[in-house]
């Protein structure tokens, strides 16, 4: 809780932005510095995802986790991006034309989001570590990495939820190194950076595609939902997972519409990071891929091999962690009823579905985000769009079905789940769909307005 810690976090997040900018130049390139400024949020989140994935691999391989390791990994990632950019002949960026004007209403809504983020920062600045899961295992895992320079066998086998992937603990340990101490109070500010980065990434990606009023009104609606306000700063993996999943799903949606290779490549990195953040990340990643396969069935010869390759890369990134915990005899990844043991517990199906739906549509937690998304999907269909509403309907539908399966098959959970939202596992799951809505709802409503899901202005890399 010192100025040094805050400056350390600023340095870490600038470092992530630099790494991500290098990667984005390799994956996509940019024609002007204004374009980079618009995509700075995406670059930052790419940097976070890439650093998180790479440091997870560092931990699994057993390379000592130190400040030098973190810096070298970041430099290597940025250099790889720059190398690819040079190899692909990316042009040198110019100053270029200024940003699009967003109009009075858009500017007012953007100002409200900025005011909200400022208020959230003040709440984060001196927040104690209250969240049970955070002090019970997420932060202890991060401290173990920080103090012992790796996946300490004792702590990583004794701490609860031993099979949970270590991407978030690795990022937290990175923050400790940049802060110079395991400052669990200032650590909350890191999660503020992640939220701000996610919002900036979505705004950067959609600013040229959808009207500012649509974009900012849905960003504001999701951000001020009571659950987001109350929980987004907690130093645990739930909302980080949601940001990574949201960006992966958005980039896949854009790829389905525009077929720019960088969109799928970036989505692949986010999908890999999603799978390394929490175990339900695998379920969410599978939903995105399955929805994309179905939404692209008309052009399957071109789309499916690419989606298959993206899936294979994401799985390959997540696999080493699984090898590590299996080789260390850690268990608890799979449901207690077994993957196929649902038929023995048929009586749990209906209350499981009821738990998921009541949580997802709880206005006290999420206001009206999901009802509006359903309306947006229907309106896009009515107006004549097809690819985007099919994709969105399937992502949301499959995810809700997947959450139901999870609750149904983890038989130690009493159903229907009616716990307080602080400890309710279904609420954590459904948050991902609310965060995704920040990105997909404006796209869907724009498609409904224009009567097509073809982009008005396709972005050329």
């Amino acid at each position: 809780m010192t100025v040094r810690s805050l400056l350390g976090l600023v340095a870490l997040n600038l470092f992530a932005l630099g790494v991500g900018a290098g990667l984005l130049w390799g994956l996509r390139g940019w024609r002007s510095w204004w374009e980079l400024a618009r995509l700075a949020g995406l670059a930052y989140m790419l940097g976070v995802a890439a650093i998180g994935v790479a440091l997870t691999l560092v931990l699994v391989v057993g390379i000592p986790f130190s400040f030098a390791t973190i810096v070298l990994v970041g430099i290597a990632l940025a250099a790889a991006g720059l190398g690819v950019g040079v190899r692909l002949g990316r042009p040198r960026p110019l100053l270029g034309p200024g940003p699009r004007r967003i109009g009075l209403a858009g500017a007012a809504l953007a100002a409200l989001v900025i005011v909200y983020l400022e208020a959230l920062f003040r709440a984060a600045r001196l927040s104690g570590l209250y969240a049970f899961d955070a002090w019970s295992f997420w932060v202890p895992k991060a401290k173990a990495i920080y103090f012992f320079g790796g996946l300490d066998e004792q702590f990583f086998s004794e701490l609860p939820n031993a099979t949970y992937p270590p991407l978030v603990p690795a990022l937290e340990a990175t923050a400790f190194h940049f802060m110079g101490s395991p400052d669990v109070v200032t650590l909350h500010v890191q999660f503020w950076f992640l939220l701000a980065g996610f919002v900036a990434a979505v705004v950067g990606l959609l600013a040229t595609r959808v009207p500012p009023v649509l974009l900012w009104s849905f960003a504001l609606l999701a951000l001020v939902s009571p659950r987001v306000v109350g929980r987004t700063l907690e130093p645990q993996a739930d909302f980080t997972l949601d940001y990574l999943f949201g960006l992966a799903a958005l980039l896949v949606a854009l790829w389905l519409l525009e077929r720019q290779p960088w969109q799928l490549a970036s989505a692949t990195l986010f999908l890999g990071a999603t799978m390394l953040t929490k175990r339900e990340g695998q379920l969410l990643a599978a939903c995105v891929i399955a929805a994309a396969l179905a939404a692209s069935w008309r052009g399957w010869r071109s789309a499916w091999p690419r989606l298959g390759l993206a899936s294979a890369c994401a799985v390959a990134v997540a696999l080493p962690w699984r090898v590590w915990y299996v080789s260390h005899d850690l268990t608890g990844e799979f449901p207690t009823s077994g993957v196929t043991g649902l038929l023995d517990n048929l009586d749990r199906a209906r209350p499981s579905l009821q738990s998921v739906l009541s949580s997802a549509f709880d206005a006290g937690l999420w206001t009206v985000v999901l009802p509006l998304v359903i309306a947006a999907i229907v309106l896009a269909f009515i107006a004549g769009a097809r690819t985007l509403p099919v994709y969105a309907a399937l992502v949301y539908g499959l995810a809700l079905a997947g959450f139901t399966w999870a609750i149904w098959s983890f038989t130690e959970l009493e159903v229907p789940i009616e716990q307080d939202e602080a400890i309710n596992p279904v609420v954590r799951l459904t948050a991902s769909l609310v965060i995704l809505s920040v990105a997909l709802a404006p796209l869907l409503l724009d498609a409904a307005w224009r009567g097509t899901d073809r982009a008005a202005r396709t972005e050329k890399a």
Binding site: M1, L112, V115, Y116, A119, L120, R122, A123, R125, L126, S127, G128, L129, Y130, A131, F132, W135, S136, P140, K143, A144, F147, Q154, F155, E158, L159, P182, V184, V185, V213, L214, S217, F218, L220, L221, L223, V224, S225, P226, V229, G230, T367, V368, L372, A375, A376, L379, A380, I382, A383, G384, L445, A448, W449, R450, G451, T452, R454, A456, R457
Partner: protein, 167 residues
């Protein structure tokens, strides 16, 4: 209507209210306007609540002292802060410790006995917990059960002891 569709497809976002009753695009556009209005309405109402709530949280956080902020969630179960602070000061970072619980802690909550070892593991790291550790944090335990040679280095009024076994 067709001109509207062309304009819209090109990215124009003008409001032609008269087209809102035309099926299907006009109805869809009416729906877009309504959805946006609902999002804006809820967003503005909840924005005020959110900023108010976050202001309260920031004020509460700022008013706390260093100990309360550092213990945070642990305040619900540690009973007193001093024993764990003393344990952190006394136990060298490369030594092990164990937490032994018992019924004799005054002011214990229902969470204390179940979770104090979890919290100590988080709070005392890099010190490692071990079942045979020389250093003992006794949360209402019977010191006699620890064996001979238990040297008490801190005794808290709530019945919490920090000490070490000889050898």
């Amino acid at each position: 209507m067709e001109r509207d569709r062309r304009n819209a497809a090109s990215g124009a976002f003008g409001l032609d209210v008269s087209s809102f009753v035309v099926w299907p695009l006009g109805i869809a556009r009416l729906g877009v306007v309504l959805c946006t209005a609902v999002a804006l309405g809820y967003g503005l109402v909840y924005f005020v609540k959110a900023v108010d709530r976050l202001g309260d949280t920031a004020r509460t956080n700022a008013a706390q002292n260093f100990d309360d902020r550092e213990f945070a969630g642990g305040n619900a179960l540690v009973v007193a802060n001093r024993p764990l602070y003393e344990a952190r000061a006394l136990i060298p970072e490369d030594e092990t410790y164990r937490v032994v619980t018992g019924p004799a802690v005054q002011g214990a909550t229902e969470l204390t006995a179940s979770f104090i070892d979890h919290y100590a593991r988080y709070f005392l790291m890099p010190r490692r917990p071990a079942p045979d550790a020389r250093w003992v944090i006794c949360y209402g335990c019977d010191p006699a059960s620890l064996g001979d040679g238990f040297e008490i280095l801190l005794e808290d009024e709530a019945g919490i002891l920090v000490g070490r076994l000889a050898g």
